[in-house]
Amino acid sequence: MTAIALPLGLLENPRLEQWIGFEKAGTIRIASGKVELGQGILTALVQIAADELDVTAQRIALVSGRTQATPREGFTAGSLSVEHSGGSIRLVAAEVRGLLLGIAARRLNCAETDLTVVDGAIHRWGVATGLDYWQLASGLDLTQNASGSRPLKPAHLRKYIGTSVPRVDLPAKVLGSARPFIHDLRPDGLLHARVIRQPWPGAELAGPEQVTAHADIQVVRLRNFVAVVAATEQAAVAAAEKVASQLQWTGGVPLRPEQATPGWIATQPSLNATVTRGVKGDHAPAAKRFKRTYTKPFIAHASIGPSCALAHFENGKLRVWTHSQGVFPLRDSLAKAMQLDVSAITVEHVQGAGCYGHNGADDVACDAAILAREIPSKTIRVMWSRADELAAAPFGTAMVVTLEATLSSSGMPIDWTTEVWGGPHAQRPGAAGGVNLLGAEALPNPPKRPPPIEIPEAAGGSGLRNASLLYDVPHQTLVNHIATALEPRTSSMRGLGAFANVFAIESFVDELAAEANVDPLAYRLAMTSDPRARAVMEQAARMADWTLQKAAGQGRGFAYSRYKNRAGYRAVFVDVDVDEDVRLRRVWCAVDAGLVINPDGVHNQVEGGIIQAASWALKESVVFDQGRVASNTWDTYPILRFSEVPEIHVTLMDRPRDPPLGVGEVAQGPMAAAIGNAVADALGMRIRDLPMTRERIIATIAG
């Protein structure tokens, strides 16, 4: 028997019944550990299952992100859900279809190849047999392990995969007809709570002994964890304000304004590692060298809806409703933080507002769990304030990237060093055995945070994500510095290190091309042998009409990347107008995502990524003052608005025979670099520190 390489999800959740069931006539249960974050994953999984099972999409009842009912699949992150969960579901669906056809063939005394499936009904030689999946399923042992041995449906027979099936979750949100968000859950007897957060990391409550609050308000105080609980949300908000004004704090690690300045992170104590690749050639000691440094600040997730969770504790059992990206890791971390047995906790996913990484979702779930245990037999709902959403959730870390190239006589890089400084990116609850739940850290005996680690390169890296060159350069050195004792908390945000690394590399390549007096696109093509990479670059150039002349004050920039050096490819052109502000005019983008399950879904993700990355690149920076995060309102943490959004053109390369490649994060890095290159084109001067704000442009022009 040939060994089949099963996806990780199937190795960890091998039984067919963990993924599929026929409990209810006419519908098929498909279970996924991945969750909807606004990216349309549920729709894509329904498409995959419906195609492999030969049923209409309406028959698929998808269950997602519940510790008691879905396969354990880690986090919904890294643009891997279609590849991972989708890959497992595809194999399971194909296998179960085959097994059911086998049973039918035995009953009908015919060959399996005589049979076809029409929306779950079994046909022989094209004629209905009266048998269907649901009758046959009773004879199928779904406790057996998946073998992954059944062939998948060939491209030309697919009905849903590759088509733009409308999102299953959107109607409720557009019609206002259901209660799609966790914020909308209102179980009977619900109590509303607000947590009064420590004002800076590690702050200790210094007093007073007693706080005053309205008689209807329950104040919970556990070392540095302070919360108010009330019958209505309005009362909880008012009480939180009243109690917060009475509290005095001391100690801890007050945050300082200079932490927001470019380069600060490179001055911090760090864990250091160096890797080299390729063969170092003998270049003349006189060979020209070129070195530049690029930076990005701390940035916030800044979801439109604040983090929210519900929890209920009764008879030693804890139930949690959350919009976390990982219900299983959250359950395990809650067990550690609250000294409960894992089996006493169930965690269920309910949609939150858009999620772009490790935000406050896990923290607020912990807040709710702590309060539920203090007030048993009641369901406690905690929602964060706008200020906490912008200030208390983990940030995407500030980074410094220094690049140095040794150039050949024709100006091409022959040796290259990338040196990266940043805080940790991989600090999710459960990472490397750590916990990382803000509320739990305020309790007596706080659990340990994950140590600062670099995700292995085979899993895409973190600080070094996309630091390794996609270009043909004979020798390169990568140096990584991860800050070891960093406050504020930093963790995974869309693209991790790729945003800063691609911004730096693709800006630097433009600088090298200018130095060599070569067109930036031609310069990149000259050191790119991967045909798929060349194809997206050339496609984007055709879309943008790269040779077009431009007026004074206008600039055009290009950038390219392949996310994680192994996922989706993307090439982008940007047109900008620059006076004192940068105004994005048009964006052209070509994407190679391999097999596309839902083209409109990919377009949506790519467009959204372009706009969000533009917002990061032009506007966003966390600010610290008086020990605290000062950028805690939409006025102090502005993001891109309708009036600042460019015209966007996206083309997907047609690759139906290649495996699907994640796209949720492909847009981040190249967009910032393309803007930077366009600004340099317009100004004749380059901005190497993000964000490219009005103040930075004025300062650059002033020299």
Partner: protein, 156 residues
């Protein structure tokens, strides 16, 4: 106190200074209007008061005596969606969708004012709304589509 919400009279027993948003999401159980900031800076809570886009998060119910409030629930439903709702579905205009109810409200006020808005008109009308997922381009297309549909259907 008596409020008029989506054409129906609704009695609420709340203090006068209660925000409309708290009233809607609390006692009235109308969840489509969302909390985002509580400070008039994101537009997630937008409703129509006598046809004018207004921030429910800072509007006390006291100010609504004799006025008509429209929320997303009042625009249409699955059986009879408002042309804007249909256009947002046709364009798949949204990612997480949290920002959409407020945006749909401002778009309705715009189309009530002008049936042939330019792209600039749409951008101006929506500029007080934030969308973190970056669904802006689709949202603008959806409003354009709804406007086109409404003006052709009213012309025939």
């Amino acid at each position: 106190m008596l409020l008029t919400i989506n054409g129906a009279a609704r009695e609420v027993a709340l203090s006068d200074d209660t925000s409309l948003l708290d009233a809607l999401r609390g006692d009235l159980g109308l969840m489509a209007t969302r909390f985002g900031c509580g400070a008039e800076s994101c537009g997630a809570c937008m409703v129509l008061v006598d046809g004018k886009p207004s921030y429910a998060c800072t509007t006390p119910i006291d100010a609504l005596r004799g006025k008509a409030v429209t929320t997303l629930e009042g625009l249409g439903d699955a059986a009879r969606p408002h042309p804007l709702q249909q256009a947002f579905l046709d364009e798949q205009a949204g990612q997480c969708g949290y920002c959409l109810s407020g945006i749909l409200i401002s778009a309705k006020a715009l189309l009530d004012r002008t049936s042939t808005p330019t792209r600039d008109d749409i951008v101006q009308a929506l500029d007080k709304h934030l969308c973190r997922c970056g669904a802006h381009a689709r949202i603008i297309r959806a409003v354009q589509r709804a406007a086109a549909r409404m003006s052709t259907s009213s012309a025939t």
